[in-house]
């Protein structure tokens, strides 16, 4: 497993965990369990920890060749997949409030930066999955 795969796997695990915790917290809040708003930072921290772990734990691969043309192509395709996911995310998040609140509704301004953070996570998640899928196609080729 190369560095890109290790980073992607960590990202996918932490994001999935963060997403799962976030959904649980939203459901608990819907049933009035008494969850404070600050608790929602916990899943965000869990999801974001993937980046911190990747930077601190996975050092650059040792050896003369650490990056070839195939890796570059995989990275490029993964970037495109990430961008595509953000495009879809922006479409959904732009029309969802209109659908729920109606054409005359208003939303707090603080939602905008939250959308931005969501878009960032969405891109990293899709990119990581795309990297893992592309490397898994080659089997042992990526070792």
């Amino acid at each position: 497993m190369n560095r890109a795969q290790k980073i992607s796997l960590t990202m996918v695990i932490t994001f999935s965990l963060g997403l799962f915790l976030g959904i649980i917290l939203i459901v608990m809040r819907l049933f009035d369990v008494g969850i404070p708003k600050i608790a929602f930072l916990f899943p965000v921290f869990i999801a974001g920890s993937g980046g911190i772990i990747s930077i601190t734990c996975f050092k650059k691969d040792k050896g003369t060749i650490i990056f070839d043309e195939r890796d570059k192509l995989i990275e490029k395709n993964a970037n495109l997949a990430g961008f595509g996911a953000v495009y879809l995310y922006v479409i959904v998040m732009s029309f969802l409030p209109i659908g729920i609140l109606g054409e005359e509704g208003t939303i707090p301004v603080t939602w905008c930066p939250a959308l931005l953070i969501g878009a960032g996570f969405c891109q990293a998640f899709a990119q990581s999955i795309a990297i893992l899928i592309q490397y898994s196609r080659g089997g042992k080729d990526n070792e």
């Binding site: 970037n79 495109l80 732009s94 029309f95 209109i98 054409e103 939303i107 301004v109 905008c112 931005l116």
Partner: protein
């Protein structure tokens, strides 16, 4: 002219004409028809023509649609336009915070932001393809 380049020019022209048409229609509706029911489909109807490229320019027998280089150019253009899309989205998310502060915004703001980002994506994609082919010089020939 290369088929990919032809598509880029076609898309650029259609998107610019459609955007101008939408802007004029919305202005007329706001000025002369205020408060009346107005379908959003009317101003944006011309954008549909972007997808009619294959209908207007069908692939001739024996014609090569694209090669590896065209594929690379398209991919590069997509990356550039997605980057611009990202920056535009970031701007649209930051501007309300800077101007309004802790207030509220209309839900249609996000819809408008999406339309602007989507249109700029198409325009930048076309321009990026055209620039990479050298503005349709001999490099872009079949």
């Amino acid at each position: 002219m290369n088929r990919v380049l032809k598509y880029a020019w076609y898309q650029l022209i259609v998107v610019i004409v459609a955007t101008l048409f939408a802007a004029v229609t919305i202005l007329i509706a706001v000025k002369y028809w205020p408060g009346k029911e107005f379908s959003a489909v009317i101003p944006f109807c011309l954008f549909v023509f972007v997808n009619f490229y294959r209908l207007f320019f069908p692939l001739k027998a024996g014609e090569i649609a694209f090669d590896e280089r065209d594929e690379q150019i398209k991919k590069h253009a997509t990356m550039i336009s997605f980057n611009i899309f990202w920056y535009a989205f970031i701007l649209f998310c930051i501007i309300p915070i800077l101007t309004i502060g802790n207030g509220k915004i209309h839900v249609m703001y996000l819809g408008g932001a999406l339309v602007v980002c989507g249109i700029s994506f198409r325009i930048i994609w076309s321009i990026a393809v055209i620039v990479q082919y050298g503005w349709g010089g001999k490099d872009g020939e079949e």
